[in-house]
Subunit: 187 residues, 2 copies
Amino acid sequence: MIEFVKTCNRLSPLDEVASSELENKLKTRSLKKDQHLLTRTSICNHLFFIDSGLTKTYFNNGEKEFIMRFFREGEMFTVLDSFITQQPSTYAIKALEATEVSYIEQKDLEELCRKHHCIETFFRKLVSIAAVNMMKRISEMLEENASTRYAHFLKDNGHLLQRISLGDLASYLGITQVSLSRIRSQR
Amino acid sequence: MIEFVKTCNRLSPLDEVASSELENKLKTRSLKKDQHLLTRTSICNHLFFIDSGLTKTYFNNGEKEFIMRFFREGEMFTVLDSFITQQPSTYAIKALEATEVSYIEQKDLEELCRKHHCIETFFRKLVSIAAVNMMKRISEMLEENASTRYAHFLKDNGHLLQRISLGDLASYLGITQVSLSRIRSQR
DNA sequence: GTGATTATTTATCATTTGTAAAAAAACCGC
DNA sequence: GCGGTTTTTTTACAAATGATAAATAATCAC
């Protein structure tokens, strides 16, 4: 079974028919480093799975860039607001390394959700996990200062530190790169 | 049809059987001002709907309090991480006014989700909307300073301003009450 | 390798936010 | 209405973060 479908099954078991119909809908795409998977103002019509590589989902306000999340191999994601509302995305997705993604079209997934209850259940759980992750992020941003958030990131995502630039990490933490550099130096 | 079920149908149409089975599972509870709907360390076993009143979902770190969200009449919510994982909640829910809630038990909802595809679809959409709201919150917290976040809150939730204390609003914005008072004075 | 480009650190100063304490205002029970 | 309680504002000072510029360090193209 292909990795995408395995990951779905791990989250919520799919019956055989659903698994194979899902697998039949999948496509793949290769991205070079710095290439966009999704640009701002275009509609996010896909649910992605990273077979290998690393991406960031981000936006910018004209001056600064802000990173919503990094996604690495084995992770499944989309830009949820655009995906659901089918409105142009305010977020863009860019590959931070050479990256291979598998994906399914939004309308195909919607159709599979209608046809197979188990796929709807899977998708519900996927969205739930995303929501829980965001709750944690909000809690951290409320409770912790930049220095603690950095320490927290190291603890949870230390392995990513080698793969992302400090500028990107600062954009994720919501501080300037200078400020992050300062925090790193006082330890 | 009862308000809870109407709101579900508005989000995602339920067939008649599902609607009536859902309605049969509902219970209600009255809360006085300052009474807890959920305490920290207990498992959130309910999906709530506010018929009237106002609540806050919050946590504290021993010293300060932080507010995840306010929910007012007509809104549906739960503490998602506890609800899904059935682990003790790190968040508590308290009524800010005399409040009437309707709710369904987690296990009843799970059962209805299994039985009625349309209820699973409704629940998926409910969680999706919650996730989209949290995306917006994270974006704002990254991009905007406290002063702008306050202005933004006024714009989006001005009607709530009369109903919540400034201390609570500060806890929601992630700043101290003194800081909020300072922001308010310079306009 | 070498020079150019990009990323990171350091330094300085301005601004924002936090802390603590007190004053003022609003609210509540009787 | 009065006294006590809670909420909000004000003040003064400390700490954290931002902005800008310059200095190092690392990376990349050739």
